[in-house]
């Protein structure tokens, strides 16, 4: 290589030691963040990330907390550099959450600190990199507690949008004031600043020798993994069930993907994907990149580092203005939690055609409380309620002590299809809870695809296209289901009537079709309440999430 910018070769041990030191710093930052934070998401389930970057904003290492931040963190640091990189001074903290300038959804607040050495040198401080961390704040204002109002159609309804600015005490006060829980904001920001200070100090002590080689290393790891894939192009498509709670939003949004492998490079092209919707189920490009990175890593090699070099050979084409690369003024609250899951599933579906032995089935929608481990045909004790895809590691549910209202059930649901889901709830729950009780679930009405299982072998998009066929011989039974929807029927009643309908020859699509057809008559609230019960009765998995004053699980 004659490139003068080429990294100086390091020995294999020097390289490994440098990576271990950098990783140790990111890890320690993450620990400070989790220990100090107040938001349930950060402290209980590590919906946060910590990372170090080169001076030009290339990701060096990232503490493994939540994959949906994988591609998004670099975008944040890029935005911070673009906004005020040349004016950055030692000790500065840059804050941002603007989905259209380095953020994802508003809850994810990133704080970035420049790392300088030679601070007292006559030549002035020298920038060697950036320390950054991102954490899911429980509330940043907006139309509903938690800053992810299901009915949002404009980002302004979701809360405070912070472009990249210096995090002065005044800005911190403004962020706190915009929140329903200002004390919590102040505590979370303290933890974020504390984490950056620690990371920047350790990074400065380590210096910047060899950093380009760390980036080149990531690239080599990804290239080596990609070289094991056959060349070719594979396509996959899937749908998001809906894009909001209103009746007119109960329409699918199609996502298209073609994956092309050429040698040691790979491209993910989402051309053909539906435009962004007037709802909140829109993802900005950074979320899509994160989901791609997660899928690629889990299919190819889980030990590929989170490293900017690794993504250099991965091209993501997400046409602006689509649901996978939403533009202002789209509402984006559910982009992280819904679209990211579906994009990851698409990537798995496409990659499965290239390496069928490494992929099992799609995740269930929201947050992916998965049931059957990907590789297993049968439920295995201890394996069903795993989280999957690019969401984080821990449960949405804090200990019962912290719950603002008594939870009456907290159990696994073993469905008739042989998969197991889980849910909470029970008679009267929604009346008891001083907040709102939400079900938020994608890929419930449309059955999840499972590779290699004959009963659901057809591509999901085609299933949808064919989803309007006429009712069979189970007319009276289906009418009783419609009545239950209107009457807010109980779970046992739905189970009984759905069993009868199926026994009378109705198909799964017929039963779901009832729900669709009556939604405009009974209203979306009744339909929303009935949907999970019908799905459970059909043996699909449903996660019922309690949303109290401070929601627990918002990637």
């Amino acid at each position: 290589m004659s490139d003068p910018e080429a990294p100086i070769p390091m020995g294999p041990a020097q390289l490994a030691v440098l990576i271990a030191r950098l990783t140790g710093i990111a890890h320690e930052m993450g620990e400070v963040l989790r220990r100090g934070a107040l938001s349930p998401n950060i402290k209980e389930r590590a919906d946060c990330s910590a990372a170090l970057f080169t001076a030009d904003g290339t990701l060096l290492v990232q503490a493994e907390h939540i994959p949906v931040h994988l591609g998004a963190m670099p975008a944040s640091v890029r935005a911070a550099i673009d906004a005020l990189g040349h004016r950055a001074a030692p000790g500065d903290q840059v804050i941002l959450n603007d989905p259209f300038a380095g953020g994802t959804h508003l809850n994810d607040v990133t704080v970035v600190e420049p790392v300088f050495v030679d601070v007292d040198a006559p030549t002035g401080p020298r920038l060697i990199g950036w320390a950054a961390n991102r954490a899911h704040h429980a509330d940043l204002g907006g139309a509903a507690p938690g800053s992810m109002p299901a009915g949002a159609t404009h980002v302004a309804q979701e809360g405070l949008r912070i472009p990249p600015v210096r995090l002065t005490p005044e800005v911190a006060a403004m962020v706190a004031a915009a929140s329903r829980t200002p004390e919590e904001r102040a505590g979370d920001l303290d933890a974020q600043i504390g984490a950056n200070r620690l990371g920047a100090a350790r990074f400065a002590a380590l210096g910047d020798a060899g950093l380009p080689e760390v980036v080149a290393y990531g690239e080599r790891r990804m290239q080596a993994a990609l070289a094991g894939l056959p060349d070719g192009t594979w396509r996959f498509a899937d749908v998001l069930d809906s894009f909001g709670p209103e009746p007119h939003q109960q329409a699918p949004t199609r996502i298209e993907l073609s994956v092309t492998v050429a040698g040691d490079e790979i491209a993910f092209d989402f051309t053909g994907t539906d435009p962004q919707r007037r709802g909140n189920v829109n993802a900005v490009e950074a979320v899509t990149v994160s989901a791609v990175a997660w899928a690629l890593r889990s299919v190819l090699d889980p030990t590929i580092p989170a490293n900017g070099g690794a993504l250099r050979v991965v091209q993501v084409v997400a046409p602006p203005g689509t649901v996978v690369a939403a533009r202002f003024p789209a509402a984006v609250g559910a982009g992280n939690v819904e679209v990211s899951q579906r994009v990851a599933d698409l990537c798995l579906g496409a990659l499965a055609q290239a390496c069928p032995d490494r992929v099992g089935h799609a995740a269930r929608g929201t947050h992916g409380a998965d049931h059957v481990p990907r590789m297993r045909p049968e439920p295995v004790p201890g394996h069903h309620p795993l989280r999957t895809n690019p969401t984080g590691r821990w449960s949405s549910f804090p200990p019962m002590r912290v719950m603002a209202a008594p939870v009456t059930r907290f159990t696994l649901h073993l469905g008739v299809t042989g998969t197991a889901g889980w849910g909470i709830g029970g008679p009267g729950d929604s009346e008891e809870v001083p907040g709102t009780m939400l079900t938020r679930s994608q890929a419930t009405l449309f059955r999840r695809w499972t590779l290699g299982q004959s009963d659901v072998a057809e591509p999901p998009a085609e299933r949808y296209d064919d989803g309007t066929r006429a009712t069979g011989t189970a007319g009276p039974e289906l009418q009783r289901i419609a009545a239950l929807v209107a009457l807010d029927g109980s779970m046992p009643a739905f189970q009984r009537e759905v069993n009868r309908a199926i026994a009378a020859g109705a198909s799964v699509e017929d039963v779901i079709g009832v729900l669709r057809s009556v939604t405009t008559v009974v209203g979306s609230a009744r339909a929303m309440a009935a949907a999970p019960r019908i799905a459970l009765a059909l043996g699909y998995d449903v996660e019922t999430e309690m949303e109290l004053l401070s929601p627990f699980d918002e990637d």
């Binding site: 504390g194 295995v380 201890g382 008594p406």
Partner: protein, 606 residues
């Protein structure tokens, strides 16, 4: 100390059962190493005891025992069939867990199956609320019969840490039916129902087996005590009731002895560094006392019992070195284990390990014999390294960096400057790597304790009798009545160990946080938070989550006063090969024997 009339002597012993050897240290400094007897580890204990007893003494006055019986039963899943009784509707808490997945990126990674099968979980009606109030009375009539074949029962009800009456009522009914019942309020009276349930279930799971093992040992001495994870000795009857507190029994002994050795050599603040074949344990010691922890993960399960705060990483002498696809040298996480072991063992291992690198680098002398393994084959080690194309120094640099991060995690990351600390090295590989780690972190000294090969047994011998208690504090930031609650808990601890000194502490956090810091008083919290996390939140309210009390009576045995085999000064580079321990002194370092028996390694010119 020599006994004029052996038959009049009372003998105290520390005995630690390891995978290969059972180690014994007597209070006259005599040591023995006998083969372990996995079928019944008690046979090894008795054989080891016989090996050190003076003629004419038929049994020791006291036997302090570190055991792996509980740990092995959990790791190998050979415990009892447990039925779990919990609130109706919450039978799956133990399986839903925290939805944690073992790896974010590896869909193949498994997590451990719950210790209780789904059909063996039984719900009961009745409910205590989150403030300890009764929401629904307990309905014993709603409790269905336990499954046939149940060997032990765990009872874990919501919020029983605040009001245990429902649990007690259920337990009484089940005990009346002849069941062996563990109640969560007894083993883990703290909030967070998942962790509490798992701890309770693990105790029930381990109890039948541990109880019969310990009962068979009861006549091995006038008094038999067993080491807990918290580094204290309890009567075997107590250990048999709460075997879940024995999961760190052996390692705790080693940490205690290492802490004692450091304190005796003038380093009350230290990090213990136990580098073995597959893993390495480090623990921070402040003021001669190993740092305590309230929870520890064992076999992938959260066990909430008082424990020493031992931080474990999965790298050791058996870790395999390889070049990855990006050209970096990886050491571990794969390990050659005991079989085939490193290439130099000559048992069929062909991949290079850290031990092979130690041997090729000359840190282990060519031709050295390791206990239970035999003579090491340096040619095989070199061939294994060559096959992968890595040098011994490279392998050592990478593994030492991992060790450095581990020591940093328990020191720098907790606001403790390593510059004033000693690194206390033991385990097969500890004394080979300690100087490199200490050098990188600028630590004051490396210490190799006397009797490094039987350190856990020595730690048992010198451990205090101890009783640890914890209680939930429901008042949060309202501290009304806290002093009384602390005093009551302290009195309970004292009652368990008459004559003990009792130390109390509080688990505190800023209101709204989820991570507690253990402090002596609420006033100490702000400083502790600043030290640990690098920032404080002056003026923010502090809440108490739990109260702890530890009663301790020190052992009459002082390790530093026991006779030891003499050690000589040495200047690096040098290898000191002792009977059960090999020490590498790098260039620029020197070793000096300390009167307490430890070897103190320091950088020359400091």
């Amino acid at each position: 100390m020599s006994a004029a009339d052996p038959s009049r002597r009372t003998v105290r012993l520390g005995v630690d059962t390891g995978g290969t050897f059972t180690d014994v240290v007597a209070d006259d400094g005599t040591i023995a190493k006998v083969p372990s007897t996995p079928q019944d580890p008690g046979d090894g204990v008795r054989a080891g005891t016989a090996a050190v007893l003076p003629a004419g003494v038929d049994r020791p006055a006291l036997l302090a025992h570190g055991t792996t019986v509980a740990t092995n039963a959990l790791l190998e899943r050979t415990g009892a069939r447990v039925a779990l009784v919990t609130n109706d509707g919450f039978e799956d808490v133990i399986e839903i867990a925290r939805q944690d997945r073992p790896s974010l990126y590896d869909p193949w990674a498994d997590r451990p199956a719950p210790l209780v099968a789904r059909d063996d979980r039984v719900g009961v009606r009745g409910r205590i609320g989150p403030r300890g109030e009764e929401l629904e009375p307990i309905d014993l009539g709603s409790l269905s019969a336990l499954p046939a074949g149940t060997e032990a029962v765990a009872v874990a009800l919501l919020h029983s840490d605040l009001d245990d009456r429902h649990e007690r009522a259920v337990a009484a009914a089940l005990v009346a039916q002849g069941h062996d019942v563990t109640v969560s309020a007894d083993v883990s009276p703290q909030f967070r129902e998942y962790e509490r349930t798992v701890t309770t279930v693990a105790n029930a799971y381990l109890r039948p087996r541990c109880r019969s093992y310990l009962a068979r040992l009861a006549d091995a001495a006038d008094e038999v005590l067993v080491m807990t994870s918290a580094g204290g000795l309890v009567p075997i009857a107590e250990g048999a009731e709460v075997p879940v507190s024995l999961l760190l029994s052996g390692p705790a002994g080693g940490v205690l002895a290492a802490a004692a050795a450091a304190a005796a050599a003038g380093f009350p603040d230290a990090v213990t560094f136990d580098m073995g074949g597959t893993s390495t344990d480090v623990c921070l010691v402040l003021g001669g006392v190993p740092e305590p922890a309230g929870e520890r993960s064992v076999a992938g399960l959260p066990i909430r019992r008082p424990s020493l705060d031992v931080h474990t990483i999965g790298a050791g002498g058996g870790s395999i070195a390889s070049l990855d696809a990006g050209g970096a040298l990886q050491v571990g996480p794969r390990s050659a284990g005991a079989r085939p072991g490193p290439a130099c063992y000559g048992h069929g291992g062909t991949e290079p390990t850290v031990t092979d690198a130690d041997l090729v680098a000359g840190h282990l002398p060519a031709g050295v014999e390791l206990p239970g393994i035999g003579r090491l084959d340096v040619d095989a080690a070199r061939a294994a390294l060559d096959r992968v194309g890595v040098s011994a120094t490279d392998v050592l640099a990478v593994v030492d960096a991992a060790m450095e991060e581990a020591v940093r995690a328990v020191s720098v990351a907790r606001g403790v400057d390593p510059a004033g600390l000693a690194l206390v090295a033991f385990g097969g590989a500890g004394p080979l790597h300690a100087c490199a780690v200490a050098e990188a972190l600028g630590m004051a000294a490396v210490l190799v304790p006397a009797r490094a090969g039987v350190l856990s047994a020595a730690g048992c011998l010198a451990a205090p009798r101890q009783h640890d208690l914890v209680a939930s504090w429901a008042g949060g930031a309202d501290l009304t009545g806290l002093d009384d609650a602390v005093a009551a808990l302290a009195a309970r601890a004292l009652a368990a160990v008459p004559g003990a000194a009792v130390e109390t502490s509080l688990e505190c956090r800023y209101v709204g946080q989820s991570h507690e810091i253990r402090v002596g008083s609420v006033e100490d919290f702000a400083d502790a938070h600043e030290r640990r996390n690098g920032y404080g939140r002056p003026g923010s309210p502090v809440e108490v989550v739990a109260i702890r009390a530890t009663a301790r009576v020190p052992s009459p045995v002082v390790l530093a006063e026991l006779p030891t085999s003499p050690r000589r000064p040495a200047t690096g580079p040098a290898v000191v090969a002792e009977a059960d321990c090999t020490i590498w002194i790098p260039p620029g370092w020197r070793a000096d024997p300390h009167p307490s028996g430890a070897l103190v390694l320091t950088r020359v010119g400091r």
